[in-house]
Symmetry: C2
Subunit: 250 residues, 2 copies
DNA sequence: CGGTCAATTGAATAGAGTCAAGCGTAGTGG
DNA sequence: CCACTACGCTTGACTCTATTCAATTGACCG
């Protein structure tokens, strides 16, 4: 037990779990520690494992320590839509706090390490620690803004533009958390996952990827995504580079 | 000036502006008053007016007192996607707090009354009043969950299912704020607006509406939407009735 | 060396978009 | 009271993006 608590704390203080919280401004070590004390021991998940099912009645959050996860909504016909991708440092399941039963299932897209954060103490912590609450509020708003952008693309842009936008945004997020080159990073998503994200069939995803390869825009090879021409991808997607607010009020 | 402040306060204490805040639990009159004191004088907007443009550099929020508004993202080709609809009591523009420039324009879908809430004092208020912060946090999560549902429908469901879902959700929201019959309520949206919401052309929206009329599912007439068969709409959309959390921690 | 999962390609089909024209109705002004 | 206008609704015909179904190839693993 001691062991896992130490491991957990180490992850929260040194690992990428911290970085995400600091996106909108410094967070006191005290705030980070109290969040760490809420978290349960790390659990391992394999690709495809369900981290939290949409049939789980009791609400709980997860802190993603390692690997990629996604929130998936399953339709009646069995197809699924991934509504967001989460990278290490993200807190999973916050939207579910607002509803009595989850609409989405949280799945591991990769080998994942995550720990549980129980909902009640989490909310109590927010009310205890205004600055941490403000930071998490802003992080939630950012994810909502991101969902709005995807919604707009889904409704108005053809599939290849949506894929271009996905690549651009993944590039931005990945470059924030690893010190590897921004233009080449691990890509655990299969073509079917990408299809579930951008709302197309696997077959069509494949054709777009082929097209991107031919146009020297981007290539996926050996579970790595290489961005060959970010500017042209931005132009194709019709989006701008993401600029986070630098709030004066924090 | 006295006059408008009184009008503003009245709206915040009696009107539907209060109701939305109380969705997840009681909010102290004190909390409501301090939010009221932040708000500027009410301003009138006509249908089509821009409440906050995506070119406005300075971030500010709005409190919607009357009428319907929407957040719209405009694409390069001039088409637009409405990412959310807001009803009286909603706070507009929160996601924009997280980015340095807005991605969306907030437009009036109807005759609208709204007042400005400056961003900095708003965030400071959140850090001052934990309970108000928690409530607004949950409201944001709910809107994000709602966006996720729409995203899933947009990616995986045909246009008629998306329209069915829109009608069902609008019905739920409208019945919360007026005491008129749940199955018949004002509908300021034009067919082009509905198309912008569900991501189809006006022409196709028209055909779906005709289909709904023939199947006795729902009818729009004289700026009113009448829901004829909510259960079949739910089934068609493949969604369940919305159940808000009843948090034990508030 | 089969077994499983992922990527790839072709052919037929359907959902939705675009273009273009016609219709209804409310409001305005003579 | 009628004519004119503006806006929104309705419908048809054609096109195209993306889907579905099906089959094949390739890669990795025990």
């Amino acid at each position: 037990m001691e062991n896992s608590i130490e491991a957990r704390d180490a992850a929260l203080y040194e690992g990428p779990a911290t970085a995400r919280l600091e996106n909108f401004g410094a967070v006191s070590p005290d705030d980070k520690r109290s969040l760490a004390e809420l978290a349960g021991p790390p659990t391992e998940f394999k690709r495809g494992d369900i981290i939290r099912s949409d049939r789980d009645a009791s609400t709980c959050l997860h802190l993603l320590l390692d690997g990629w996860a996604a929130s998936a909504i399953t339709m009646e016909d069995g197809s699924r839509q991934l509504t967001s991708v989460s990278l290490p440092g993200d807190i999973l399941g916050m939207p579910t706090l607002a509803v009595s039963y989850p609409l989405d299932t949280i799945v591991a897209l990769d080998s994942v390490r995550a720990c549980v954060i129980p909902a009640k103490p989490f909310m109590e912590l927010l009310m205890d620690r205004p600055r941490l609450a403000a930071v998490l509020f802003l992080i939630s708003q950012e994810e909502r803004m991101f969902a709005m952008e995807r919604l707009a693309l889904m409704g108005r842009a053809p599939a290849r533009d949506r894929l271009a936008a996905l690549f651009v945004r993944l590039r931005e997020r990945c470059s924030q958390l690893s010190n590897v080159s921004a233009d080449r990073f691990p890509m655990p998503l299969r073509q079917s996952d990408i299809g579930d994200l951008i709302g197309t069939s696997t077959v069509h995803t494949n054709r777009i990827l082929k097209n991107f390869r031919e146009l020297n825009l981007a290539v996926i090879k050996k579970r790595e995504l290489e961005i060959l021409d970010n500017d042209r991808l931005l132009a194709r997607a019709g989006v701008s580079a993401w600029h986070r607010a630098e709030p004066s009020w924090l």
